[in-house]
């Protein structure tokens, strides 16, 4: 009898301590493109942050100042529109009172919401590629992925040398992201001795690329650069170009979206595309993350996802080290000092002082892969410092 009582008492104690395990809630905001053309990237952010939060919650919560915090992820869809992102950031900052925001995807959205996050000392870790995002006057803004500024030149140098490209054409979305990337890509191809003979800007909702492809193919380009075009747009460009009989190379010096391109264009049309990727499927930590993603989501994992899982974990680590969920200046100081973090995508540190005047740019390994039978096969391994080597 006494034994039974002891068991009951111990169980109650256990339940009590479990309840104590996460007695507070820490809200983390996600602004991402959940619907529309950039949905694949938005889901990469959303899934990455959700999985990082789930991991913390399953371990009993985030321990800060003697309390255990359960992470609650609040997600708003910006539909790849700056206006929607502003609505979302106002809700997150003023209504939900969050101090940490991950996202958004697009540069126009990030540029639009940055004044709100900076003014309210809210940490934002975005995907946006624009150079305007990071500078010494934006101490609360970070970028969770490498951009064309970091990876375009090494990747393009390797591809041009390997495939002997002379003339190239490219499509760019007609917005802040597209303008930024067009400058980076043109400069990088110029440095590699390749002429960007055709530059086509289009509105993001465009689905018929045949007129522009006709003009581009009339310039006898060896390759078409897909750069930062949204996954579905890139897929349509590949599909329609192959329908028109284009036999040249496709190169994607932009955000990972191989699965989405293959889904839209089909395996045959996608064969041989050279893509930038952040995923090395041979890396054990990446494999573990891919498995975790597969267990939790039905959608295919976008290549950006590990970066946002890592950035969320780095922010949680910085909160823990700073021992505060309110003083974001203290959290920024700790976050900036994280070096060689064991991320799903490999060893992660901060860089960017020389380029942006502030070390708030993530530094991760990246790769050039060839699409074979709908899958990425790594052809070169790269870092910002060493460039790309055959792999």
């Amino acid at each position: 009898m006494n034994f039974k009582k002891t068991i009951v008492a111990l169980s109650l104690l256990g339940l009590g301590s479990l309840a104590y395990a996460a007695d507070e809630t820490l809200d983390v905001g996600v602004i991402a493109t959940i619907s529309g053309a950039g949905a694949g990237w938005g889901q990469a952010i959303q899934h990455g942050v959700e999985l990082a939060a789930k991991e913390v919650n399953e371990a009993g919560g985030l321990e800060v100042d003697g309390k255990k915090y359960k992470i609650n992820v609040i997600t708003y869809d910006d539909k790849y529109q700056a206006g929607e992102a502003v609505t979302a950031v106002n809700r997150l900052v003023h209504q939900d009172k969050v101090k940490f925001i991950i996202g958004p995807v697009g540069s126009a959205a990030a540029v639009a919401i940055k004044p709100v996050t900076e003014k309210n000392e809210v940490i934002m870790s975005t995907m946006a590629f624009s150079e305007k995002i990071l500078n010494e006057n934006s101490p609360f803004t970070f970028r969770a992925n490498v951009t064309t500024v970091e990876f375009a030149q090494p990747q393009i140098d390797w591809i041009v040398k390997k495939y002997g490209i002379k003339k190239i054409g490219s499509f760019f979305p007609n917005d802040e992201t597209g303008l930024q990337v067009s400058k980076d890509v043109e400069k990088a191809y110029g440095n590699a001795g390749v002429e960007l003979v055709g530059k086509e800007f289009y509105e993001r909702d465009r689905v018929d690329f045949v007129p522009m492809l006709t003009r581009l193919m009339g310039l006898d380009v060896d390759a078409i650069e897909l750069n930062i075009n949204a996954p579905s747009s890139a897929g349509l460009i590949v599909k329609q170009a192959r329908d028109l009989g284009f036999e040249g190379l496709f190169i994607r010096t932009g955000g990972p979206s191989t699965q989405e391109i293959v889904n839209v264009a089909g395996e045959d049309a996608s064969e041989g595309i050279l893509v930038h990727t952040l995923i090395d499927p041979d890396l054990a930590t990446t494999q573990a993350y891919m498995q975790k993603h597969k267990e939790n989501y039905t959608q295919a994992m976008n290549g950006f996802s590990p970066s946002f899982y890592d950035t969320a974990r780095m922010i949680f680590e910085a909160i823990k080290q700073a021992n505060t969920v309110d003083d974001t200046k203290a959290v920024v100081a700790k976050l900036e000092n994280i070096k060689d973090f064991d991320g799903a995508a490999g060893k992660i540190s901060w860089t960017g002082q020389d380029t942006y005047g502030i070390n708030h740019q993530i530094s991760t390994p990246f790769y050039v892969a060839e699409v074979v039978d709908g899958q990425e096969v790594i052809r070169a391994r790269c870092t910002v410092e060493t460039g790309c080597q055959d792999g």
Partner: protein, 288 residues
């Protein structure tokens, strides 16, 4: 590539796109002429057709022609049912009818979002390879879609001009009261007309699906273009819509080929505004 071959290529592409806009626009005109409502769910019926095509080809591997026919019949039946169950009660009350179509559109879009998700889905191409006309290179898939839609338009022409029901429907569209005086049972043609109108939108969606991708908001762009076609052609005028659709399709393709994309859109809307300033009733519309 010579510029004249590029021009041929652009014109043929423009005719294909224009004929698809025309399918949408005729459906829109029939519904407006019949019920005096702007059917805001037209985009979602286009989307419905695209998804039926996706399911039929990607899942059931059915032949394209069969899928297109089935799409039209399903949309015709569903549209008639929507008219009988919802819009029938709003006949004569145009404002309520229009608001109801907004609701119908939102419901259809949400259902598609729940079932298929937001990501674009691909329908395998109906034909691979190219057709060469002179130096011009034209994708077979587009040519087939264009031929199908022109075939449907010709069939519609015969239906409207050479069949009893078609003539009756046209009479109701042109002047409801005069049609009634001639002994036409107008109320029978409401569900048929709405079903036919949205059936044409679905047909356009099914024909477009293998060329582009399929997602819940896919109908918005074509709906805007069909609005333009209807307004430029003259509200209620089917021949006007036909001329406007071809002008829009060809000018869009030519300007997209020879001008930068943003300029092309700007010139297109400048043209539309200019035409409406000079001829507010549209190309073949009547002054009210």
């Amino acid at each position: 590539m010579f510029s004249e071959t590029i021009v041929i290529q652009a014109i043929v592409n423009g005719i294909v796109i224009g004929s698809l806009y025309l399918l949408m626009a005729i459906g829109f005109t029939v519904v407006f002429g019949l019920m005096r409502i702007v059917n805001f769910s037209h985009a979602e019926f286009y989307m419905l057709g695209a998804f039926i095509c996706f399911v039929g080809i990607a899942y059931f591997r059915l032949p394209f022609i069969l899928v297109v026919l089935a799409t039209f019949l399903i949309a015709l039946a569903f549209g008639s049912l929507v008219e009988l169950s919802i819009l029938k009660r709003m006949r004569g009350d145009e404002l309520s009818g229009m608001i109801a179509t907004i609701g119908i559109g939102m419901i259809l879009q949400s259902v598609a979002l729940i079932i298929f998700g937001p990501d674009p889905l691909a329908v395998p191409s109906i034909a691979k390879g190219i057709i060469r006309i002179g130096g011009a290179v034209l994708p077979k898939a587009r040519i087939y879609a264009g031929v199908f839609s022109i075939g449907v338009l010709v069939t519609m022409y015969f239906f409207f001009h050479h069949t009893r029901h078609g003539r009756a429907l046209r009479a109701v569209v042109q002047d409801r009261e005069a049609a009634q005086i001639q002994g036409i049972n107008v109320s029978v043609y409401y569900p048929i007309g709405f079903g036919l109108g949205v059936g044409l939108a679905s047909l356009a969606g099914a024909l477009m699906a293998p060329i582009f991708s399929v997602y819940p908001t896919v109908g918005f762009g074509p709906m805007v273009k069909s609005f333009i076609v209807v307004i430029v052609g003259g509200l209620g005028s089917i021949p006007g819509a036909a001329i406007a659709a071809m002008i829009l399709g060809i000018s869009e393709s030519l300007s997209g080929t020879f001008l930068k994309s943003s300029y092309a859109e700007m010139f297109l809307f400048l043209f539309v505004i200019g035409l409406l300033v000079l001829r507010p009733q549209g190309l073949l519309g009547e002054k009210s």
